[in-house]
Amino acid sequence: MAYVQHRMTEIPGMRIHSVETKKYKTNTIVLQLKNLIKEDSVTKRALLPYVMQSGTKKYPSSKQLRGALDDLYGATLNVDLSKKGNYQIISFRMDIANEKFLSDQSKLLDQGIALLADVLLRPVTENGAFKEDIVSKEKRSLKQQIESIYDDKMRYANKRLIEEMFKGDPYHLNVYGNENKVDQITPQDLYAYYQEVLANDEFDFYVVGDISHDEIVNKAKQFFVFNEKRAAGQSIEKNEAVEVTKVNEVIEEQDVQQGKLHMGLRTYTTYADPDYLALQVCNGIFGGFSHSKLFINVREKHSLAYYAASRFESHKGSIFVMSGIETANYEKTVSIIKEQLEDMRNGNITDDEMAKTKAMIKNQILETVDDAAGLVEVLYHQIISGYERSIEEWINGIDRVTKDEVVEVAKKIKLDTIYFLKGRGNENGTKTV
């Protein structure tokens, strides 16, 4: 039996995906809105979903909408923004109890889908725009959300690395938008942008749970009726291959106890490429796990850090390294990290590292699809990349990766930017070990 029973049907204006499973006590609904991340729309796009979830024609205030969700046995409705490759994705997630496990047997899922359709298609309006008071509240909240990135130093350092590394590429934009652009958005601007989203975004609707595909398709047809002719699917954005001529080193100082070292590398491989799985193995050996070169060398051998890891952005083709260290250990840590990559390029990869990494990647993917939200993420990669890779192909493909292939992808990797947020003063200049 296949790991995942994924089915997809196109209805006018939207793709309907379903996964039938009895794993869960609740049913999960995810609506994904896809469009390119752009300088002139990034902030409006970040604000939009928060305004949309603040009231519908039927439930015109957030309090009333939340009350309706509570009545559905505490259905949850969350908004999420994410950057995948060159896209700024808006996600609405609902999670709703399966009435089978309740003494009360009302049709919760239907009501949930109807409510989500209202959020998308029938938001509360006044004078042909979003309500002024809702927009101003959500603007304030968004600004605070952007500002709070500064207070979480790991997120802050990551944001700064990306701004430096992708100058001139829309990918440098933060998914929550630009703090200085929030104030100027009017309810009319935002409503006009909402109309553009309805006309041009790609919509993917997922339901995971104890359901039937045909029923879901029927429900979706009933509730999601689009007025105007929606644009056909967009073409897939290709990444430009950017050459690295010189490593860009950026050092900033703040009043912090621990220095944050973030490094950005270019791999020139993305999800749809034939060497994608080799790159997964390569990143795993480099810094993906507790047997990886970064963990073993930076943490275990040299006691420099509590965490030292790398992650791979599948659609941009970048590897990001992160570690929290004493300011005084900056150069030493950077050189150890560079040595690990050099080692891999020179073929210093053991059979043991290959075996562990493959076992861990296969385990990771199977664990991810055990979680409804994780499963939707995995399936959505196909939409972002326009390339289909089933769970079985993942597993078998990982098994087939050879050490030579890993060395080949490691050779392509180029260090682009080093960002270091260092601490101030003497107290951080001394080593603890």
């Binding site: 790991y3 499973t21 794993k23 006590k25 609740t26 205030s61 957030s62 309090k63 009350g67 509570d70 009545d71 559905l72 046995y73 505490g74 259905a75 949850t76 109890a97 399966n98 089978k100 496990f101 309740l102 008071d133 509240k137 304030r140 909240s141 605070q144 500002e147 709070s148 500064y150 207070d151 979480d152 703040q254 009043d255 912090v256 106890q257 621990q258 796990f289 507790s290 047997h291 943490r299 275990e300 006691s303 420099l304 509590y306 929290g324 260290i325 004493e326 562990k356 076992a359 861990m360 296969k362 385990n363 664990e367 699809v369 055990d370 979680d371 409804a372 080593k431 603890t432 070990v433």
Partner: protein
């Protein structure tokens, strides 16, 4: 092996207490790929004053030692155990809380091998002066990471406002100074005292055969020579019921201040059903006061006093209990005043029956959602079991809570005298 059926939830739990005192629980989840197992000792950061096994005099050990011990359990004479788990396709981890230390793995294959690895590594300590010294650098960086985290500082700030003496106020990882004192002998002393099987719970959840798993565990334990151990003597200084201080400000380089108010539980000495009912009642009341569909939430949000980070929670374990309410805010003083006033207003008025029923439904729905997660089930079940409660009683207990139960809790827990405020504010240069 006994079994208990939870019909409404469609779950069957298998359990047994082994000869050496280890309690084993197994929950079959046939639809999942993943098996998740936790091996947990009833020993956490608050257990810093006790009589070591075989001694007569109590000792006080350095702050952060339970967490330090957790780190060091992974290192063995022939390398570290992470390697072995990874070889077997499992991802392993551990965590230390106030009252527990848990070791765990999740895997989609080689369940038996991984389970054996889990049990064996936790039951086979190996500490040397050299490896203990090496760990001080790593944990030092872990402590620094938390020092820079304003949410963590606000959380511990609030707890430390409440407690005069109870070690719950001490950061779980200790300080760079306190861990500097830890020796390998200290670690062995704590290990021998707290890691006896009779002080531990093993929980396995996943697509397993319960009978087969139980046999494997029993055989493994029977092959090890454990002597019966007397009950552990733990000591806690007498804790006054009122909070230590009413307000504290933590200066940090933040752009957005944080503000939390909390109520210190007067008599946190409940166990079993009484604790379950009390904990669920306080959480239900918090939801009725500040949930997203309440007037209070709407008012706070409209006035710009809170944002998406706003949250509330109540937790109680034998010896301590507290609620906390708050999040990021531009105006920490106005937020704390408003929250205090809202709580006092709420408890002075009769409960709305309609709100109560709606909130009860909401809490039941959220609990069902939580049961989707094998991690939640294993970790929470263990916590409940150590406190003599049963996780699968949550829904019936929610259904049974009456208005008069809630009125008692309201008057008792949300007493103004028990309140305290902690704010993280921008450090002046």
């Amino acid at each position: 092996m006994e079994q208990k059926q939870f019909d409404q939830l469609n779950e069957t739990l298998y359990f047994k207490t082994l000869q050496n005192g280890l309690k084993v629980f197994i929950l079959e989840k046939k639809e999942f790929n993943k098996t998740y197992a936790t091996f947990t000792t009833n020993y956490g950061s608050v257990d810093n004053h006790f009589t070591p096994l075989g001694k007569n005099e109590p000792v006080k050990v350095p702050d952060g030692i339970a967490h330090f011990l957790e780190h060091k359990m992974f290192e063995k004479e022939d390398g570290d155990v992470f390697q072995q788990f990874n070889q077997q396709g499992a991802s392993a981890n551990a965590f230390t809380s106030f009252k527990r230390t848990a070791y765990l793995f999740s895997t989609t294959n080689e369940v038996k091998k991984n389970l054996t690895t889990l049990i064996d590594f936790v039951q086979d300590p190996y500490f040397t002066e050299k490896t203990v010294e090496k760990e001080k650098g790593i944990i030092g960086q872990e402590i620094r990471m938390y020092d820079d985290n304003p949410d963590w500082r606000a959380y511990f700030g609030l707890i430390s406002n409440m407690y005069h003496h109870h070690p719950v106020k001490i950061d779980i990882a200790g300080t760079v100074e306190s861990i500097a004192k830890i020796t390998k002998d200290d670690l062995y002393e704590c290990y021998e005292t707290f890691y006896h099987p009779s002080n531990m719970i093993l929980f396995v959840v996943g697509p397993v055969d319960a009978k087969e798993m139980m046999e494997l565990i029993e055989t493994n334990q029977a092959s090890k020579d454990y002597k019966d151990q007397p009950p552990i003597e733990r000591f806690f200084d007498e804790e006054p019921s009122a909070p230590r201080t009413k307000k504290e400000i933590v200066p940090m380089p933040v752009q957005t201040p944080k503000c939390y108010i909390g109520f210190k539980e007067k008599q946190p000495e409940r166990k079993g059903e009484a604790l379950l009912k009390h904990e669920l009642s306080v959480n239900l009341l918090l939801e009725m006061m500040f949930g997203k569909s309440t007037e209070n939430y709407e008012k706070l949000y409209n006035e710009g006093l809170i944002d998406q980070t706003f949250a509330f929670d109540y937790t109680e374990e034998f010896g301590f209990g507290f609620s906390m309410i708050g999040g990021d805010t531009k105006d920490p003083d106005r937020l704390s005043e408003t929250l205090m006033k809202m709580v006092q207003d709420f408890i002075s008025k009769p409960l709305s029956k309609e709100d109560l029923e709606r909130t009860r439904k909401k809490k039941i729905g959220s609990f069902l959602r939580a049961l989707n997660s094998p991690e939640f089930i294993a970790n929470q079940f263990t916590r409940y079991e150590f406190n003599e409660m049963n996780l699968f009683d949550v829904i019936p207990t929610f259904e049974q809570i009456t208005e008069s139960d809630l009125l008692d809790v309201m008057k008792n827990h949300f007493d103004e005298k028990q309140a305290t405020v902690c704010q993280v504010r921008k450090k002046e240069a």
